[in-house]
Structure formats: structure tokens, C-alpha cells
């Protein structure tokens, strides 16, 4: 598989993603500078974490207008798998590839710690290697992860099983205390209506190796690869 990792000025998890897909999961990785206008020959795209454009104005607000984002949009509209992690999730929201917006963390703090998330839907292109209801431990590191959307959109997300991960306790209870940022309905990750775009605040690439003490995040990345392997045709030109 060939995975493209986008690189914006200010991305800082791009090399972590490259390392995990390449060295841990044995895939080809192409780093894609934000000024590129095409993303041909890729099987999947990762929008990594960081502080694209310094997060000026709003997180992801300027990155979404980078030339590469038109190509990513087209790739996603053609069914390509796109995963946005942390700042990548924020960019996907600003780009309208996922519904909703991010507010400042309720605590106003930058929160950097391991959290527990419950797999709410294990039948997605990004969670196939997980069990339904499985609790994963994955670190978060953000100041704007307080997911918000209007009540109608939220109801739609819930009804269509688009909520993929929710913050929970170590034994899988979704509580206000387990929510690190105040996000609506404890949402940690959602997918698009079509199912091929995922945004999540926790960083699976930071918890993908036993050597680092935790490999739960690898399940998410492996799930994406497994889904790609099941796809009959390679995306061409998209």
C-alpha cells in the first residue's frame, strides 16, 4: 500500500506517521507538501497533527485552503480513505469533509496525556481490527478538541453510526470526567456519512509500538490498511 502523509508548514506529527506506516507496518509512504496539486497513485491519505500555519485565525482554517486540499477533497469524493489526526481532524472540519467545528478545550488547558476511547463502531474502514466496545488507550495532545456541532447534525451522526470513538473510563464508561476537553457527547472521533473519511483527536501513531509501552493505536492504522487491501481497484488519478 502507498500512504500519502500531508505536510503543512507547522505539521509536527508527519514524521511519526511516516515512521509507523513505513517502519512498523511495512508500507510505502509518500510525504506530500501542501503546495502539491495532485495526489495520484496513493491508496490512502493521512492528515497529520501539528499546528498548520501556526493555527492562526482558527485551527485548520488556513490549511484547508492549501492547494493540496482540493486534491484531497477530490480523492475523498471518489471514495479514497482519508484519516485526519488531531490538527488533521481540525482541517477536515474546516474543509467541510466532516461536519462540526472545534472549540477551545473547556478547561482552557492544552491537554497532553493518555486517554481511553471506546470503539463505538467497529464496522468502519478504520476500526475493523477492533472489537465493538473495545477500550483503546491512545494519547491526546491538543488545546482545541472540544468538538461541537448543532443538535440536528449530532442526531444525524448518532443515527448513522458516524461516531467512531468516544472518550471513556478505563472500563469503558462514557462519563463527563473521562472527557478531556468537553467535547459534545464525549466525541473523540467521527467518520463521514460515506464512511471513507475519519477524524480523530487522539494520536494512534504515538501509540503504535510495544517498545513505547502501548500499541493500541496500531489497531486503528492497521484497520485502515486492511480495508485498503480489500478494495478491488487502486484509486487512479484521484
Amino acid at each position: 500500500m502507498k500512504i500519502g502523509v500531508l505536510v503543512f508548514p507547522g505539521s509536527n506529527c508527519d514524521h511519526d506517521c511516516q515512521h509507523v506506516f513505513q517502519d512498523v507496518l511495512g508500507q510505502q509512504v509518500e510525504m506530500i507538501w501542501h503546495k502539491e496539486t495532485t495526489v495520484s497513485g496513493l491508496d490512502g491519505i493521512i492528515i497529520p497533527g501539528g499546528f498548520s500555519y501556526g493555527d492562526y485565525l482558527r485551527t485548520g482554517a488556513i490549511a484547508r485552503f492549501s492547494p493540496v486540499m482540493n486534491a484531497v477533497k477530490e480523492f475523498a469524493e471518489n471514495g479514497g480513505l482519508v484519516m485526519g489526526i488531531c490538527n488533521g481532524f481540525q482541517i477536515l472540519l474546516e474543509a467541510g469533509l466532516l461536519p462540526g467545528a472545534m472549540l477551545r478545550n473547556r478547561s482552557l488547558h492544552f491537554v497532553c496525556k493518555d486517554v481511553h476511547v471506546r470503539v463505538e463502531n467497529a464496522a468502519t474502514a478504520f476500526t475493523g481490527a477492533c472489537q465493538p466496545g473495545q477500550v483503546l488507550t491512545i494519547p491526546v495532545a491538543h488545546a482545541e478538541g472540544n468538538y461541537y456541532t448543532d443538535p440536528v447534525t449530532l442526531a444525524g451522526l448518532q443515527a448513522n453510526a458516524q461516531v467512531v470513538f468516544r472518550y471513556c473510563t478505563s472500563d469503558g464508561r462514557v462519563t463527563a470526567e473521562a472527557n478531556p476537553n468537553g467535547s459534545l457527547d464525549n466525541i473523540a472521533g467521527i467518520r463521514s456519512a460515506e464512511g471513507n473519511v475519519l477524524g480523530m483527536m487522539p494520536h494512534p501513531e504515538r501509540s503504535a509500538e510495544e517498545l513505547l509501552g502501548n500499541a493500541d493505536g496500531r489497531l486503528v492504522l492497521m484497520s485502515m490498511l486492511e480495508s485498503l487491501k480489500k478494495r478491488p481497484l487502486k484509486m487512479v488519478g484521484a
Binding site: 485565525l57 482558527r58 468537553g182
Partner: protein
């Protein structure tokens, strides 16, 4: 024309920064200060003398980039 643009979180959306400032004002003794909302202020020049035309452009700027209308509202003055 000069555009002066204010962007704030919509009413009803929790503004944690506003709350923190409100608490600070309270602890300074400003007991009658309430409902603090924090926003952004931007000003820019639009190379356009026709106010109506400039307004169309500023509105587009706000809708497309300067405000995220899911969570924010904006207002502007053109002079």
C-alpha cells in the same frame, strides 16, 4: 474602504476564555461584570470605493474564512 470586523462565538456556545476573564474580573472586585465574550477583531483595506460592492466582498471573506459560522458570528463596519 476600511473594514472593521468582529468575530465572536455565537450566543449559547460556551466561551471558556470569557468565563475565565469573568472570574478574574470578579476576583478584582468588579462584581457587576457578567457575560464576558471573547472575540477577534480584524481590520483590512478593501480596494473598492463603492460601499455596496465592498460589503459583498467583506461578507464573502467572513463566510469563507474569517468566521466559522458553525460556531461563530460576525459583524463589520465599512468606512
Amino acid at each position: 474602504m476600511k473594514a472593521k470586523i468582529h468575530v465572536t462565538l455565537k450566543q449559547g456556545i460556551l466561551d471558556p476564555q470569557g468565563k475565565a476573564i469573568e472570574h478574574a474580573l470578579d476576583s478584582l472586585g468588579f462584581k457587576n461584570a457578567a457575560n464576558v465574550r471573547v472575540g477577534k477583531y480584524m481590520e483590512l483595506d478593501v480596494n473598492e470605493n463603492d460601499k455596496a460592492k465592498a460589503e459583498v466582498q467583506v461578507k464573502q471573506m467572513c463566510e469563507k474564512l474569517l468566521a466559522n459560522t458553525i460556531i461563530e458570528e460576525y459583524r463589520y463596519e465599512l468606512t
